[in-house]
């Protein structure tokens, strides 16, 4: 029996979909059977991040409403035989699916998969309610910005009220150089404010743009620092104790020079 984890944030644009794609690919690379569910009906994007946008025939709305079996709608990833996507519908809206339908679907999916990751839409309305309905665990993604943290805190409160397990936090687009200068909230500041457990920190990384352009998750790119962070987060999700990666070498003079010449840890 697998587990259902929702990836959510409140605020849009903080990296929910990127996180979902990377953790899915990460877990699959360890041999787990993984199903990614795009719950952002009307604004689907998880298919793009996985490079599967041309293979969609049936979608979440078809499955939730019983028009087809989920197996018919699943799309196998390009990289792994054990990673599947259940895409969102693009022409419907959030009301095309109800929370009880999502609960039933997740119940069915976790019979078949070790991990079911549900990519939540931004906001706290029906799309969010749908996404969290079938999940027992939640990962909250935030960036070190006031607006993102405020929205994350709101979502923590909502999940608490639903009596979900204590959510785990991923801090995305972290810039240690700015933190050193005192211009960005540090990890400890954010944990203190939100009072939840840290699952991982993903440094800002230009390489993410490149891997996304190609439709390949960064977690599979050995040169990507964000990819390294996602590899660590994957292992923590599987229950391993993994120390935080060294975030500090992103904008030191030496690594900048190295980067210009194309060497160095990227």
């Amino acid at each position: 029996m697998g587990q259902v984890i929702v990836i959510t944030s409140g605020k849009g644009g903080v990296g929910k979909t990127t996180t979902t794609a990377n953790l899915g690919a990460g877990l699959a690379s360890h041999g787990h059977r993984v199903c990614l569910v795009d719950a952002d009906i009307g604004l689907r994007n998880l298919d793009l991040l996985l490079g599967l946008e041309n293979r969609i025939v049936y979608d979440l709305v078809d499955v939730a409403n019983g028009y087809c079996k989920y197996k018919k709608a699943l799309i196998k990833s390009k990289q792994f035989d054990n990673l599947f996507l259940l895409p969102a519908a693009q022409t419907k809206d959030k009301t095309a699916v109800r929370p009880d339908q999502m609960r039933d679907l997740c119940e069915e999916l976790k019979q078949e998969f070790d991990y079911v990751l549900v990519d939540s839409p931004a906001g706290i309305e029906q799309g969010f309610q749908n996404a969290v309905a079938g999940a027992e665990k939640a990962i909250i993604v935030t960036t070190p910005e006031m607006a993102a943290l405020r929205d994350a805190d709101r979502v923590v409160g909502l999940l608490e009220a639903m009596e979900k397990e204590r959510p785990m936090l991923i801090i995305n687009r972290y810039r240690p150089g700015m933190v050193r200068k005192g211009d960005m909230l540090a990890i400890d500041d954010m944990l203190e404010i939100l009072a939840i457990d840290l699952l991982g920190v993903v440094p800002e990384d230009e390489q993410i743009v490149v891997t996304t352009n190609r439709g390949e998750p960064a977690v599979l790119d050995k040169h990507s620092r964000a990819g390294e962070a996602y590899r660590n987060i994957t292992r923590r999700l599987m229950g391993e104790q993994v120390p935080l990666m060294n975030l500090d070498d992103d904008d030191g003079i030496l690594s900048r020079i190295k980067r210009v010449f194309g060497f160095g840890a990227r």
């Binding site: 793009l48 490079g51 946008e53 041309n54 693009q90 022409t91 743009v209 490149v210 891997t211 996304t212 352009n213 190609r214 439709g215 040169h223 194309g262 060497f263």
Partner: protein
């Protein structure tokens, strides 16, 4: 380093180019997902408004979305039987 060499010799196309092509394809698809029901409603509204000004042939009129080089276009071919006299 191998990546760099590959880039210098142009073996691998830049990712932005790949992104542009992928995006173009997916948008053509998204935009064309206008349902037949939607077009039918639009057509009925067009008939209602235009009929106040002109007597049109609703049987042979044609309303559809098409893709030009740069954008989607709504193309309507509406045969006019006669222009109504509108009060000045």
């Amino acid at each position: 380093m191998l990546d760099l060499i590959a880039k210098v010799f142009g073996r691998e196309s830049p990712s932005a180019e790949i992104a542009k092509e992928r995006l173009r394809l997916v948008l053509v698809h998204d935009r064309s997902s206008v349902t037949p029901q939607f077009l039918e409603r639009l057509k009925e509204d067009l008939i209602r408004v235009i009929s106040e000004y002109m007597d049109i042939d609703t049987e042979t009129m044609d309303v559809r979305l098409s893709q030009t080089e740069h954008q989607a276009a709504l193309v309507a071919s509406i045969p006019v039987r006669r222009v109504k006299r509108v009060a000045p």
